[in-house]
Symmetry: C2
Subunit: 333 residues, 2 copies
Amino acid sequence: MKKLINSIDTIVDEACEGLAAAHPDLVRFNREPRYVARAGGPVTAKVALVSGGGAGHEPLHGGFVGAGMLDAACPGEVFTSPVPDQMEAAGRATSANAGVLFIVKNYTGDVMNFELAAELLQADGIEVRSVLVEDDVAVKDSTWTAGRRGVGATVFVEKIAGAAAERKGSLADVERIAKKVADNGRSMGMALTSCTVPAKGSPTFELGEGDMEIGVGIHGEPGRERMALKSAAEIVELIAKPTIEDLPLKRGDTVIAMTNGMGGTPLIELYIAHNTLAKMLSGLGITVAYALVGNYITSLDMQGFSVSLLRADKELLDLWKAPVHAPALRWGV
Amino acid sequence: MKKLINSIDTIVDEACEGLAAAHPDLVRFNREPRYVARAGGPVTAKVALVSGGGAGHEPLHGGFVGAGMLDAACPGEVFTSPVPDQMEAAGRATSANAGVLFIVKNYTGDVMNFELAAELLQADGIEVRSVLVEDDVAVKDSTWTAGRRGVGATVFVEKIAGAAAERKGSLADVERIAKKVADNGRSMGMALTSCTVPAKGSPTFELGEGDMEIGVGIHGEPGRERMALKSAAEIVELIAKPTIEDLPLKRGDTVIAMTNGMGGTPLIELYIAHNTLAKMLSGLGITVAYALVGNYITSLDMQGFSVSLLRADKELLDLWKAPVHAPALRWGV
């Protein structure tokens, strides 16, 4: 295993510290319990958006803390759910008496621990709602998931709910919008190589030299099928088609599209993949209003990519366009 | 070799097409001769900034085409210099009768081909100046370079000269500023793994399972030393110290710092590296005014990173802060 680390035990703390060091104007790092929050403290009368999950998916979630997006992110150890103390402390630190919205990816540990944190906050009179992201169409039930896994649509939920909160929408309104995004977002991924979890030191799964895994999860959970490597265009077809059909998207729809790298994939290859995706959607009469191409929700050093599509009406598009200023997403400011 | 491609011959064209498909508001792709240019055409009375070089370093240079940065980028094949026709056509297409500035990384082929393109344009009455970036302190003379290699400081030159051109500075003024940035920027990199050039199909160099290469070039050119893998903090020391000493930076200086991934490095590791860099600079009494952490100038799928530092006075900091809207760098708009 070759990794740029100092010690397996301090990976997440040091990465959070580095994030805050790079963006002191945007985020601050609270070591114990561990969370990353907006540098400026709670924003008056604004719903506080808190997310989190296992580390190893950077820039998710810490890179999305900032104006117009998250108020706090709670990273667990690599691929390990954060504990309730973290979300409780983050909720308390960012609450501005307008309620707290938890954005939770559908993994059993995350779901349980966010629920416990919500109970702790509510016992103290802080109103908490939660939205579950379960957008991965590849498989139903997985290593750590009952139902569908939460993956790329999380980026859409955090951006758009973040904009809704920033304009001082009520907790009910921000929750409604977050759920609308979660309901209209779908994703599927693939891997050319496994990731290597530092604490384990060896690849999570084995893939033959000429093979790939279609429908892989962001922790290396098994996908739909293992098969011989195909062309980029064929691979895009294999993961985009089920994503489109699941929604389903139809002629005349407008989407926000993300071609997301898993961490070890060169950008030149992501642009090749996106090129096919754009042509495919255009051929189906589907308009791409905005596109993201790059590393947004990763799986450590895995080579591979995922496609996420959000069916977006005017309300969602307007919120998408609204200013955002986070370490990993910035426009309009 | 596992890559998301359709055919080795079409990699660069398809990636450029994908870039333009993702950002039709920002860039357009000209296939023959190949360049990527701003979508809107020449900007009245503005110096046109044109860069280029071998592909495989994405987002450099195409991802930096846009308002406040480059007017055009000319990618060659992977790790291969573009031909003069490309820079000539790009210069012609973006010239707004205020002159053209070429930003050239110091590789023999690039230098020669940009020179030829400049002669062709000048013969047609278009004024052309060139700025050479040669910031890699690792080695003097390299596989394709006489003198120092041009690497990460190129991002600083393109951003800051881009801002100078955007405010309608004269060609002489934009050239002066670009040279000032090139003179005050230094970099050094390292590799945990080799990159694999698609046309070759096997790693450019071999590195033992427990080894790393200090001072590697962005095409996998040999560095200063091959040694056993060390901790992230020790590695940062090994590449940042020569960078700092070469300028040299002194107590009280202000820098823009970039912790840049080589393409296959997870962001969590880059933040760990940046954390050490930030502490090291702070300990030396050097202020980091702005930081970039991520993939800005890559080497295909190589795992590793580089550090780039720009000593910046008020003029350079103000230009850095100015709005930019390119696929891979955006703020203020």
